[in-house]
């Protein structure tokens, strides 16, 4: 099932919440109104009862009530909804006085009144036609000491009408209100998400050939503009990555083209006429040399690819850097002797890593250092245990590297002096491999060089917690 659209979902949610809220308020208002109307009715009954009591206090006995009722009737005159009934205590069948239209059965009230004098009692009742009454009843003492039950009833029809009108209007307004809330929410979301179309447009245009498109963050709501900035940043990095990749394949093709051209040319020239087997042998040997270079480039490339996707690598182990440095130095010691260069290894520290890779990194740096170190000088390997990391420094005196080369030294195929290093069999990948190895070890590869004085390469490893 396709999930409903965000605007629809938000619209529905808002409507539901709106409905709940409106209904809650309506119910609250209904009860408040009921309570308030009830209180008002009671108050007005109570004050009316007071007036009646006052009038009754002028009567000497119950007989006077039926003979001179007009004083009492005046009290309830003009109040259509009031019914005043006064009974004789001894004869409760027919009232001494009755005004108004209320048809309430008075017996429960009369029964309740038997006991006490001066007590106000409220009661609700419903007559045969369904009209609701609120009745206030009280025993009132006359001048001669006899007391008569007085019942004052109020017809609640007005209040009921008011309440039902309120309910009706609320119920009628509710659906309209909810539709309005829902539509507004839907529209607000639609408008708020309108910039998403911009996202879609840009996403549709982006491909590896064309990574130049960016989202415009002007006029975007804050949440979306943050997202847009994030996406722009991602596009920027992708752009860089893709450019590097394509630059890299250019470089790779170029690197491979040179030796392949050499091979082809040499073979073609050789085959163009008859030669002695000695000459053929020479050509084959030089072909092998060239091919070895190609093979080395391919192996280095494979190694780099393997290091950048380190899924299938052996787990790291504790490595004594000094041992590995000594081992690599041992490998290079003969070449160093030949060039009359001293090799020194100083210091010790332990790191977590892959033995073969660390050897390889040291070896790449050492062979560079030996290549550029003048005769009679010293190439030194210095291992330092720092407070937060472990450093392995490979330094050699010599002509050094000019500052503008330094930022690119660890790039693949970057060469300071391309023709010379290629002639020496360098693949141009040695330092790139060093950098990849170090990043695999969560470390860094750095270089510092003072032309004419000293060049120092540094491998920084994270410190091992032992």
């Amino acid at each position: 099932m396709k999930p409903a659209s965000l605007s629809l979902r938000l619209g529905l949610t808002m409507s539901t919440l709106g409905a709940l809220l409106v209904m809650f308020l309506a119910v609250l208002a209904y009860f408040a109104l009921t309570h308030e109307l009830n209180t008002l009715s009671r108050d007005s009954l109570a004050s009316k009862m007071e007036q009646i009591e006052h009038s009754l206090s002028l009567y000497t006995d119950p007989g006077e009530i039926s003979s001179k009722p007009h004083i009492l009737l005046d009290q309830v005159m003009g109040h259509d909804n009031l019914t005043l009934t006064i009974y004789d205590r001894s004869n409760q069948r027919s009232p001494l006085l009755k005004s108004g239209t209320g048809m309430v059965d008075p017996r429960p009230e009369l029964k309740a009144l038997r006991a006490t004098v001066d007590q106000l009692t409220y009661s609700d009742s419903t007559d045969a036609e369904g009209a609701k009454y609120l009745t206030l009843s009280k025993l009132i003492r006359l001048k001669n000491g006899t007391s008569v039950p007085v019942l004052l009833s109020m017809d609640n029809a007005h209040d009921q009408a008011l309440l039902s009108a309120y309910l009706r209007s609320t119920l009628m307004a509710l659906p309209l209100l909810l539709i309005f809330i829902g539509l507004s929410a839907w529209a607000a979301v639609q408008r708020g998400l309108a910039p998403m179309r911009e996202f879609r447009k840009v996403a549709a245009m982006v491909s590896t050939q064309d990574l130049d498109h960016r989202l415009s963050v002007v006029n975007m709501p804050q949440e979306l503009s943050e997202l847009a900035q994030g996406i722009n940043f991602m596009l920027h990095r992708l752009d860089n990555g893709v450019q590097q990749l394509s630059q890299f394949s250019d470089d790779l093709a170029h690197e491979l083209r040179t030796p392949i051209n050499n091979l082809m040319g040499k073979a073609q020239v050789t085959l163009s006429r008859e030669r002695t087997s000695e000459e053929y042998k020479d050509v084959l040997v030089s072909c092998i040399e060239e091919l070895e270079r190609v093979a080395r480039i391919v192996r280095d490339m494979l190694f780099l690819a393997q290091v950048s996707h380190p899924a299938a690598l052996a787990p790291f182990e504790l490595i004594e850097l000094e041992d590995e440095a000594l081992k690599v130095a041992d490998l290079f010691s003969l070449s160093a002797q030949e060039k009359r260069i001293n090799l020194s290894v100083v210091g010790s520290a332990r790191v977590l890593g892959d033995r073969l890779m660390i050897q390889r990194a040291i070896s790449n740096l050492l062979s560079n250092a030996l290549r550029h170190c003048p005769a009679g000088e010293t190439v030194s390997l210095l291992i330092e245990q720092g407070t937060s990391n472990v450093s392995l420094l490979v330094s050699n005196p010599g002509a050094g590297i000019e500052a503008h080369h330094l930022p690119y030294l660890f790039e693949r195929f970057y060469r300071v002096d391309s023709s010379r290093s290629r002639a020496q069999g360098s693949t141009g990948l040695g330092l790139a491999i060093v950098r990849s190895i170090m990043s695999l070890h969560q470390g860094v590869a750095q270089v510092q060089s003072l032309p004419g004085t000293m060049t120092v390469f540094r491998l920084g490893f994270p410190k091992v917690d032992e």
Binding site: V285, C287, D300, K327, L334, S335, Q337, L356, S426, G430
Partner: protein, 224 residues
Amino acid sequence: MRILVVEDELKAAEYLHQGLTESGYVVDHAATGADGLHLAQQQAYDLVILDVNLPKLDGWDVLEQLRRTHSTRVMMLTARGRLADRVRGLDLGADDYLVKPFEFPELLARVRTLMRRSENIPVPQVLKVADLELDPGRHRAFRGEQRIDLTTKEFALLHLLMRQSGEVLTRTQIISLVWDMNFDCDTNVVEVSIRRLRAKIDDPFDSKLIHTMRGVGYVLEARE
């Protein structure tokens, strides 16, 4: 000794065939996995050299099916150098695993090692080639009557060359076996060491024992 080469790439099969035949082996060739499996099951081979990327039935399947019935030695040959692939190959019962691109002399050396593994030829205590003698136990070398002083690495190198006398050893092999460095290193240590070794065991004498195979490597043998 018979070797079956299962390889779909014609050029590679061709030079493997030639190289192995010239080294004295009888070589058969199969171009697909199915043919290879059939041949390996029908005939008795001393060694099967098996490529992984094969049409129809790939090298893993061939190896797996062959291992159910035969214990023929198998050397896997593949461009996949990842650790997981190598482990898989060896787990499936391969006896050796060589990653392309490889150097032919290394392949040859490994073939010889595999062949030797079953024959169990004991390595003699004192190695002797022509009048050159090497006693690893006492760490001494003689050419004729003359004692030769060697450094540790020179001794290890000579030991290796004499142990594999008559076989060509490549620079990579030598670095791996003598210096225990198993990756490409940009150094001329082998050339320098061979030169120094020659100065001690060959230069003062008339018959030379260490020979350079240009473009391939070095071999120690007595030549007429």
